[in-house]
């Protein structure tokens, strides 16, 4: 009897010890290095909400991905590089992916990913040469890099004829941070090739809401176009100053992170005509959005505020989570397993095939361009559309645009090699194994 009791207690203890492990086997941890606080929170919140709600919807509607629950978790960085690096260290053992959410954090964790063997997923942001998957084996920036964005903007403002920019002056109003400086090498290359003058105008963190000096420079220099690489409060500050300076809005174009409904509300009607390139299109009636509404929003599980459901950034957050989920699905199928690990997800992200059939299957038709990734192409180059602020919301005003890869590819190759040389020994997957 005594032995029986001992065995019982031992089994109970063993069961207790194994229970979390068994539970963990049925779930995949996907951590997001979020920024819901700090000076950039206004941009971060709708994006994080979109990411969170898509995964929550899959858990509610389908019980996860192929029967495996998704544990969506966040580690708050406040968009601060040091905190981001801490979050990476804290979460790398449990999460199958790192979503750094800032170019500064991406650059910080980039060398570590080779050692830790955990994929970095930086959709539409990060270091543009990450496109070169032979060198950046663990980093992914689908569906487009900043250089894709810069190329598409130039195409749009020149109506497809970049030689028409000859003799013109283009100002780049950018956050004085790694993110803001990202397009400069490509724009400089374009300036040399097509004969226009590039005028970078940096905006410091403390000057984001008082850009009078920058806009006085714009008034003095009279550029033909102002391109903006702004984030968070900088976007609202710039648009307000543009209105004040009476800069023609149709000559003012932002990258996709400068096209946020929440930022534009401050300027409202006065900012009508401002444009932003976007690799995503909001569609609140898309089946996926209706499912999120049904399973997450209407059940009170979402954190979104009034009107946020229709915002470009909320729905872009949904698409960003879709990349991770499709990577997981691809890995599950390829490795014939349910609970994929970080290395398997790396394969999945390298073999994404987002075609029309896939978009229809997941209820996202028309919300993003089709693309696929490969060993030597970690961005996918999905292209995008010009969106225009109509005083109340962003609307699509162009056909689908594609970046000029003939111009971008050599620069990607050169800069990726430069990075690898500077960080030698750097592992390179020459044969694309």
């Amino acid at each position: 009897m005594k032995n029986l009791m001992k065995t019982g207690v031992a089994l109970l203890l063993l069961g207790t010890a194994l229970a979390p492990a068994a539970w963990a086997q049925d779930a995949i941890n996907v951590t997001n290095l979020s920024y819901r606080t700090g000076p950039f929170a206004a941009t971060g919140i709708p994006l994080m909400n979109g990411q969170r709600d898509y995964m929550m919807m899959l858990n509610e509607r389908d019980g996860g991905v192929n029967g495996v629950k998704l544990n969506y978790d966040e580690c708050e960085t406040g968009y601060n590089t040091e905190k981001g690096a801490e979050c990476y260290e804290k979460t790398k053992a449990t999460s199958i992916v790192t979503q750094p959410w800032s170019t500064g954090i991406t650059l910080q964790v980039l060398p570590k990913s080779n050692v830790d063997k955990i994929p970095i997923l930086a959709p539409g942001y990060g270091f543009s040469p990450m496109t070169d998957g032979k060198i950046f084996q663990w980093a992914f920036n689908p569906p487009a890099s900043y250089w894709d964005g810069a190329s598409m903007i130039l195409k749009a403002i020149s109506d497809g004829n970049l030689d028409s920019l000859k003799g013109k002056k283009i100002a780049l109003l950018h956050l004085d941070a790694p993110y803001g400086k990202e397009p400069i090498p490509l724009l400089q290359a374009y300036a040399e090739k097509h004969g226009f003058t590039l005028l970078p105008i940096p905006v410091g963190l403390k000057e984001m809401q008082n850009q009078s000096a920058q806009w006085l420079q714009i008034r003095r220099e009279r550029p033909d176009f102002v391109l903006m690489w702004g984030w968070g409060a900088m976007n609202a500050g710039a648009v307000t100053e543009a209105v004040k300076t009476k800069f023609p809005m149709e000559k003012f174009v932002g990258i996709w992170w400068s096209g946020h409904d929440g930022d534009m509300k401050s300027a409202g009607e006065a900012a009508k005509g401002y444009r932003s390139i976007s690799w995503s299109l909001p569609d609140s009636n898309a089946p996926v959005m209706q499912d999120i509404k049904k399973h997450v929003v209407d059940t009170g599980k979402s954190l979104i505020g009034e009107g946020e459901f229709d915002w470009v950034f909320y729905q872009r957050g949904v698409l960003i989570s879709m990349f991770a989920v499709e990577g997981i699905k691809a890995a599950q199928a390829h490795f014939d397993t349910k609970v994929v690990n970080a290395e398997q997800l790396r394969w999945g992200l390298e073999n994404l095939k987002i075609d029309e059939a896939k978009l229809a299957e997941i209820g996202m038709t028309g919300m993003i361009g089709t693309f696929s990734t490969a060993c030597n192409n970690h961005a996918g180059h999905a292209g995008g559309w010009m969106m225009e602020w109509d005083g109340a919301k962003f609307v699509k005003v162009s056909d689908h645009l594609e970046a000029d890869q003939d111009m971008i590819a050599p620069l990607v190759e050169a800069e990726a090699k430069k990075y690898a040389d500077a960080n030698a020994p750097w592992p390179i997957n020459e044969e694309c194994k």
Binding site: A41, A42, P46, S212, L216, R219, G262, S266
Partner: protein, 319 residues
């Protein structure tokens, strides 16, 4: 030779070549300066009365502005939301005195400074929970702040003065004048100054430390609200407003931590000088964005000659 020309001749030639543009630069610098002075005033008042460097001043700007906009979003009329926000700032001042400062009386200055960092973190989290982190639109029109602009054509050029900037300047002048009057002419104001001069002596003549601390934190709250309205009207209300508090640091270095006059003159000087430097030297020669460091370098240069700042008190300690 070209280098010397670009530093010593060209900037001045540009100024006189386009005097309308120079006027615009000076105006923008003046507006920035007034706003810096407002933030610096909040720091000075608290430091004067309690020797605490209030790290929470920046987040108080955010909190006051968010409360105003938040109350209006809940249906409170704008003109009623202002006194209600002031009431909230008063309650905050009482809470800070009771919960944070009173238990720390007689502790070293660094402890009190650390406590204000704690207040900052609390207000960030508390503000997030109540108001959310999204960018909000300041209720400029509802507060009857004019939003048009006055346009002039001096010297055959063009100068534009935003009415809301003009309102900010006038409002700041009225606020500062009222504050100076209060500090110099009222009994309470004199008590604040007495406490700033000598805590022990002030206490010995019956001045209540807790009352004065509540009062100065409330006044800092009033200044925070004014600052929040003015800055919020420019680019919306969000937690990004917190970083503008750092613009006040060189102002304090320049003007001195204890001087109201120093905060005002230091703010105006830095506002105008950093704008002139950025436009005529920084952008053409250094690629721009000199505003991030110019004020600190300028303040450091002043400190080399006047370690107590332009208007700070010279402290001699016997050792």
């Amino acid at each position: 030779m070209d280098f010397l020309n670009s530093i010593l001749v060209k900037p001045f030639a540009d100024m006189f070549g386009a005097p309308d543009f120079l006027l615009q630069v000076l105006w923008e610098g003046l507006v920035s300066g007034v706003l810096y002075a407002l933030i610096a005033l909040g720091f000075v008042l608290i430091y004067k009365s309690s020797r605490i460097f209030n790290f929470a001043q920046g987040i108080m700007v955010v909190f006051a502005a968010l409360t105003l906009v938040g109350l209006h979003e809940k249906g409170v009329p704008a003109l009623l939301a202002v006194p209600l926000t002031l009431l909230v700032m008063f309650i905050l001042a009482v809470a800070i005195e009771r919960v944070v400062l009173r238990p720390l009386v007689n502790q070293p200055d660094i402890i009190l400074f650390m406590a204000t960092i704690g207040i900052t973190l609390f207000l960030v989290g508390f503000g997030e929970i109540i108001f959310g982190g999204e960018n909000k639109v300041m209720i400029t029109q509802e507060l009857h702040i004019p939003t048009g602009s006055f346009e002039f054509e001096p010297f055959g050029g063009f100068v534009s003065i935003e009415q809301k900037d003009l309102t900010a300047v006038v409002g700041a002048i009225v606020l500062v004048a009222g504050l100076l009057l209060f500090l110099n002419k009222s009994k309470m104001g004199r008590a604040i100054r007495a406490l700033g001069d000598d805590h022990q002596a002030a206490l010995s003549v019956g001045i209540s430390l807790s009352t004065i601390w509540v009062l100065v934190w409330f006044i800092a709250g009033v200044i925070a609200l004014a600052t929040g309205i003015v800055w919020g009207a420019r680019a919306g209300v969000s937690f990004a407003l917190e970083v503008i508090a750092f613009k006040a640091l060189p102002v304090l270095m320049l003007g001195g931590l204890e001087s109201v006059l120093g905060a005002i003159i230091g703010g105006l000087a830095i506002g105008v000088l950093e704008k002139l430097f950025e436009i005529y030297w920084g952008q053409p020669l250094l690629g721009g964005n000199t505003e991030t460091w110019f004020a600190f370098v300028f303040a450091l240069l002043v400190l080399l000659f006047r370690p107590q700042g332009l208007f700070g008190e010279k402290i001699i300690e016997r050792v």
